[in-house]
Symmetry: C2
Subunit: 219 residues, 2 copies
Amino acid sequence: MSALPANVASRTDAVARILDAAAGLFAESSYDAVSMNAIAERAGVSKANIFHHFSSKESLYLAVVRAACHDVGERLGELGTEHGPFAQRFSSYAASMLNDMLEHDQIQRLILRELLVDGERRGQEFAEKVFGENFARFVAILRQGQLKGHLRADLDPAMIATVLIGSNVFFFEARDVLKHFRDVNFANDPARYSTMLVDILMHGIARTPGSPAAPTAGN
Amino acid sequence: MSALPANVASRTDAVARILDAAAGLFAESSYDAVSMNAIAERAGVSKANIFHHFSSKESLYLAVVRAACHDVGERLGELGTEHGPFAQRFSSYAASMLNDMLEHDQIQRLILRELLVDGERRGQEFAEKVFGENFARFVAILRQGQLKGHLRADLDPAMIATVLIGSNVFFFEARDVLKHFRDVNFANDPARYSTMLVDILMHGIARTPGSPAAPTAGN
DNA sequence: GGATTTGCCGACCGACCGGTCAGTCAGTAT
DNA sequence: ATACTGACTGACCGGTCGGTCGGCAAATCC
């Protein structure tokens, strides 16, 4: 699996396997439903060895959550780097975000569950270390879109960001219910969902003749 | 607490207390994190008595989830009964839904977690028994809004419903994170969130001079 | 080449888990 | 009084939990 030299690999291999196994199991089930025995078995190490590398189950769990947060943060960071017209960038951002969530199903589940179970305590940590920077960056992009006249100036850009993110997150977590609704035909088609979502948002966000806007209309 | 005669009350009181205690604990923590001992203690009954009324922990949990679903379904059913202009009804519906979720925090958490952990299996059940009817009713209202010319006719009404519900659900589950963002000032103000959400949605949903609409402009 | 460190393991611990069981007790129909 | 019922309990079960401990084998240091 690893292309590193044996000695280097063996020093980190076990830890990595433990983290991988734990991440998978924690994503599938809740904290208490995952036993150290199960993690040890999947990782192919002894349970005692896990306690050799991690001081407790809690600390292993935190390491897994931290790694997941790091991954999510990194992937989010890659999103805002695209070019082109504003509307296209916005649309591409929305679609990429949704695809990314669906692609990393397990990590996403882990973080969402963590939020649901212990939002009060984890809220600040998540806000600062995981989403904070990327959220602020997205808001900045939207604010610039307002200044350039692409978006209504009387809206809170943070609110726009929240609605877009929220609609994507909801699709992620509710698709299993949505696909059983007669009226819904987009539950298995995230691309279509994304297109329609951006349509709905843009025609409320985009400048229209009746809404106020900055006097300098660019692009 | 109960005004019923002692003999009748005593027949159901214990079961009700068990269900209440279990609902509270299951909403706070995951299935595995809640022990039968803890439920018994909070309910003020012996653990053995719980097994006298429920065949297993699993069956008790199912009873709790079923009750929660029933409650949610009932409360959702009361939402679509208002009168007045379409825009006002839509706005009121959105605000009521959000308030309702915040007010019944525990039940909402329970259901959302159930969805996250086991969406595949619970999806159909939830769709049919909990949300199905109410979702369909909301979609019907939106469809009528399209026919009457209040909403753009080229949008999927189920999509509109999903975005509204999703934005509300996301606010519910992410408010603890949102309130730590510098750019966000609505995390503790659901009414303001609701107002802004409806603003964003309506000006993409509502008929505008540039978008197609049914020829008959009512209201 | 002996001592030390490091990665790792099997065996084990007390605590607690979900669940069972024999039996108490109040009510009630006969 | 008798017989029976369902609600209820404390004591207890086998099993699993998170976590510990002593020791093995290989690398590393001196």
